[in-house]
Amino acid sequence: MRNIYLDHAATTPMRQEAYEAMIPYLTETFGNPSSIHAFGRTVRKDLEDARERVANALNVHPREIYFTGGGTEADNMAVLGIAAKLQDKGKHIITSAIEHHAVLHTCEALARQGYSLTVLPVDKFGMVSPSELEKAIRSDTILVSIMQANNEVGTIQPIKELAAIAHEKGVLFHTDAVQTVGNIPLDIKGLGVDFLSASAHKLYGPKGVGLLYIRRGTKLASIAYGGAQEGSMRPGTENVAGIIGFARALELAITEQPETSQHLISLRDKLIKGLTALPDVSLNGHPQQRLPGNVNVSVERVEGESLILSLDMAGIAVSSGSACTSGSLEPSHVLMAMGLSHQRAHGSLRFTLGKSTTQEDIDYVLEVMPGIIERLRQMSPVQAKED
């Protein structure tokens, strides 16, 4: 039985180096970094060392790094933190229709509390238009939050250009970079963003830890209370082992990024070519501005969950934007925002490749897909349009 994991955008296996770095902090090096005694001081030193290594890898200042409980928490801290901090200046927030729910639902929660929200549309490739952003900015706009790359379709946004537009009008800019750190070249200073969220488990680190980059000179209101940790931005005893593992995984991800990307792009393009050569299978997302490991296709006349189940039985783990897998009655908001029909959205399939993915894995996927699609199409009452 094959066991091929092609769901790296959901999570990645933790790498050995990160695991080994964590072990002491799960056992003998257990002190609370806030304690004054030797047990605490040792851990404090290692924690700050981890922060420094993360900052070096990202080419930012250590004091700009705030460790969090993951990507979602970092997004919440940025969006809610700015909204609270700048509410006297204005209550207008701009985001995009294809954000992760960590940003979108947070913005919607603010809208229910009396904030004004503009959700920018995207084109058929999932791209936000800089001119649309420019038009949307008002005198009371306090934050623009647009993700660097989409988790479902892999479209990479022109963040540098979008951030520049926001800054020209004096508006702060946040980007959710959960899918990009370690996957594409990242230059935070060059991008010019004020806030950036990242997550460890998407880059072969542990789950339950992430970071928020806060550019020096910008201030957020904290959204939780009860401790002075992380500059009071993220109160509570630090997830020391997680942070140590994150730092190790991040350093390695950034160092290896050029090589990893090259590997992923060649496999990605092979998979895209093979899948879209099948009848009535089309690519979703941008053909070029795309995450190295992302392949998202729609299979006409077949529903996504039944494709996932069939692939799972063949030993291949993937995901879909169909309603059945989103936990709601509606298919993926990302695919719908890109203008896909309900049928194509329900029939979407996402393959996200990783470091360990091989040519053989891709060959095997391409070998089993035609039979799986054919079997489900034979069951389907939706018929191909006659030419």
Partner: protein, 124 residues
């Protein structure tokens, strides 16, 4: 997430396809929610379902419930078949995940639609 019986019916669905000499056809669901079930029945003069086939666009639960209902009602009288509920179909499959009980558990509705269609046809 799914029971073994659901996976069995998903993997080896019974009575798939179009019934060429059907005298009742029912279709329920829509593309918006991502489930469409079409049932074909061949009803004899004794009002017994002699043959039944299905076509389904949908998730594992949608396919399994379609398959299951064809097994349950084949050979039943229309009066008995009409009594079969969506809940009963789910029970025969050893249950469905809660989220699937509403959206993808429509097989009994499809059967009722097929029976109604048969009655319309036979009155004409």
């Amino acid at each position: 997430m799914y029971s073994e019986r659901v996976m069995d019916h998903f993997t080896n669905p019974r009575n798939v396809g179009v019934l060429e000499d059907a005298n009742g056809v029912g279709e329920v669901g829509n593309m918006r929610c991502g489930d469409i079930m079409k049932l074909f029945i061949k009803v004899g003069e004794d009002e017994v379902i002699q043959d039944i086939k299905f076509q389904t666009f949908g998730c594992g639960a949608a396919i399994a419930t379609s398959s299951m209902i064809t097994e349950i009602v084949k050979g039943m009288t229309l009066t008995d078949a009409e009594q079969v509920s969506n809940r009963q179909v789910a029970e025969e499959l050893d249950g469905l995940p809660p989220a699937k009980m509403h959206c993808s558990n429509l097989a009994a509705d499809a059967l009722k639609a097929a029976i109604a269609n048969y009655r319309e046809n036979s009155q004409g």
